[in-house]
């Protein structure tokens, strides 16, 4: 177990019919909210009305900033920052999934400084202060509702960059699984893939594999992501399944899983971000393409770690009598099979990317590898991994 600091001050309000609490929780932090949200779906479903009503009834006035799209863009963040400044907003409310919450985090940091917000992402400035943020989550996936990270895409430079800062934790996040009943099957699966990927990154890149308590926590979360997702796909309105998936995705990236692991990396995300940035592929879909190939590549270095995951999560199909290499191979196959079963793509060719595209993707990924200090990853190794994903 490596030394660590764990401090997660986000308050989670979880369950049925909890949305209206956004009013009383937000007024504790500010009187004039910038309401950040996505496309029209929350207006159609009535959720938008529910949130604005709760806010105004609590005495919070609202300035709108809709239109966040997936793989949220820097330009849209910048316009949110201008609005927040122009209208004197003193609190940010996010209504949406990871893209909306990440945009809201970037706005909360950019609204209190005079320089461009992108400087935070390229390491030229560090966050000293933010506007308080409250959120209403609409999809189980990124964990952004209870963590201090954010990812934004700079469309001009085609860079999808992210980082964390303790001032970015939301003050409060409201998680009502009922809201996710309308998330379609494909995005439900992508969300589960995202949760799995967060745990996998830590599980595989840990500096200290002698952390049994963390291992069991992570294995349980991976197992449960698959199980809960399967149940959701059988019945998109199964409350217990939606609740399980939602809480699992939150726990998968709230700092708990990484405690004691030392410095962990996000190599799979590093490569996937280039897929999203260059091809606008859904994040979860990009991950299920990269993970199997990356696991094959990683198994050549550390088969035991992959094998342990397989023995514990996929149980009876992977047994001690096989060689470690065989077990690692079976693990990668079992995970890929599960991705296939939930119709999340598992190869670059599934999304129309061919061998000739790989150098450009690797070139793009390499930039993020440098920012994230993943020094073990060269252009050659990234291309090698990408070839395993064809």
């Amino acid at each position: 177990m490596q030394n660590f600091v764990y401090h997660n001050p986000t308050k989670i309000i979880f369950g049925r019919n909890t949305i209206s609490a956004i009013g009383s929780e937000t007024i504790l932090w500010g009187r004039h909210a910038l309401l950040v949200y996505g496309k029209t779906s929350s207006k159609k479903s009535g959720l938008y009305d529910q949130v604005t009503r709760a806010l105004t009834e609590a005495g919070v006035s609202v300035t709108e900033h809709g239109g966040v799209r997936s793989n949220p863009t820097l330009d849209h963040v910048r316009s949110g920052i201008r609005k927040a400044k122009d209208h004197g907003c003193d609190v940010i409310v996010a209504l949406g999934g990871g893209s909306v919450i990440d945009s809201a985090k970037a706005i909360s940091a950019g609204a209190v400084v005079n320089h461009d917000v992108w400087k935070f992402f390229i390491g030229k400035k560090s966050i000293k202060d933010t506007l308080p943020l409250t959120t209403v989550l609409t999809i189980a996936a990124t964990g952004s509702e209870m963590n201090s990270g954010m990812v934004i895409t700079n469309e001009k430079t085609r860079e999808k960059f992210g980082f964390g800062n303790k001032r970015l934790f939301p003050k409060v996040s409201i998680l009502d699984p009922q809201i996710t009943f309308t998330v379609p099957a494909d995005y439900t699966a992508y969300g589960a893939v995202d949760a799995i990927s967060h745990v996998l990154e830590f599980y595989m890149t840990t500096q200290d594999p002698a952390t049994p308590v963390q291992d069991r926590l992570m294995e349980g979360l991976i197992e449960n992501s698959m199980d809960a997702c399967n149940r959701c796909l059988q019945d998109l309105k199964d409350y217990a399944a939606r609740a399980d998936l939602m809480w699992t995705a939150t726990l998968a990236l709230n700092g708990l899983t990484a405690s004691g692991l030392g410095r962990v990396g996000f190599p799979m995300h590093m490569i996937e971000h280039s897929l999203s940035a260059l091809y606008d592929i859904a994040h979860g879909a990009g991950l299920s393409i990269i993970i199997p190939g990356w696991l094959v590549w990683f198994s050549s270095q550390n088969p035991e770690r992959v094998a342990q995951l397989g023995r514990r999560v996929f149980g009876r199909s992977i047994v001690d009598t096989q060689s470690t290499q065989q077990q690692a191979r079976e693990t990668h196959i079992a995970l890929k099979k599960w991705f296939d079963s939930v119709h999340s793509p598992t190869s670059l060719s599934d999304v129309g990317i061919s061998a000739t595209d790989l150098p450009a993707i690797a070139e793009n990924a390499l930039k993020l590898a440098k920012v994230w200090r993943l020094s073990a990853y060269t252009r050659e190794s990234i291309e090698e991994i990408l070839r395993l994903c064809l």
Copy 2:
């Protein structure tokens, strides 16, 4: 999954050589600390000097309140409250295990009111404010370092009562596993039993057994408590094992395991508290006496829950082909066997209590059952459980 609010603001600083941070962390909250600690062991080991040096170097002046003993007493808490008031302390620092931290919590609540602190425990007053609390933990057991609960014994009335309030979360807790190298084998085992008991209470009394993510989390913690304890007992100075046990015990009762379970109870603690109050038995030792008998009693009502625990934690020895009742029985036997293996007592006769003592214990426990609203527990059922513990 039942609705829940999860909000744990305690900052954990975990790892080797972290003790000196108590100075810089405490000065953020106050300039004059009441330092609450236990017996002379921390003075002998040099830990006391280390903490007071860190505090004074950071500019925190210190008023001493040593002498907390296990099953901490109301009188000692009251004298701490007087000291804190007399010396104008504005922050409390706890150096010790659960007994010390619980005493410090009670003092932090009592120091800001004019009425007697016991009124909080019997529900006559509720906590509205506290002095901030920082802690240095010296034993893996109660989880008090990262939760909002406390338990104090009123020696006059022979009542060992406890409750929780969100204002009782420590601001910061420092967990250096190296400190626990000197915890002897018996108290190491009692600490592990305590951690297991916290998870078991929730696992068994959940209102909603359809919470797979919580189940896996809890099963992992129980499994790891046993595994880490075994490794500690093989080598009391095994850092990885001590670290595992310490973090496991913290996670076992920091609010996370109970999330989504609905109203949970502490029936095993309810009965054990009477053992500690009447016979001054170590809390963990009392628990390993009560748990097996309680599980037998509970299995007659809900064998499936006990059986599930057994299948998942004790693995190969408990198999699907057995009847649920058999599996539950095997689970109780396996757990009892583990308690025996770490030399934690598993019967009332082990500690010299006989059948004639049971009515008095049940009488005492019944009072706490009422305070904790465990209405399913009558004098008769408590006596029945106690008989199963003979």
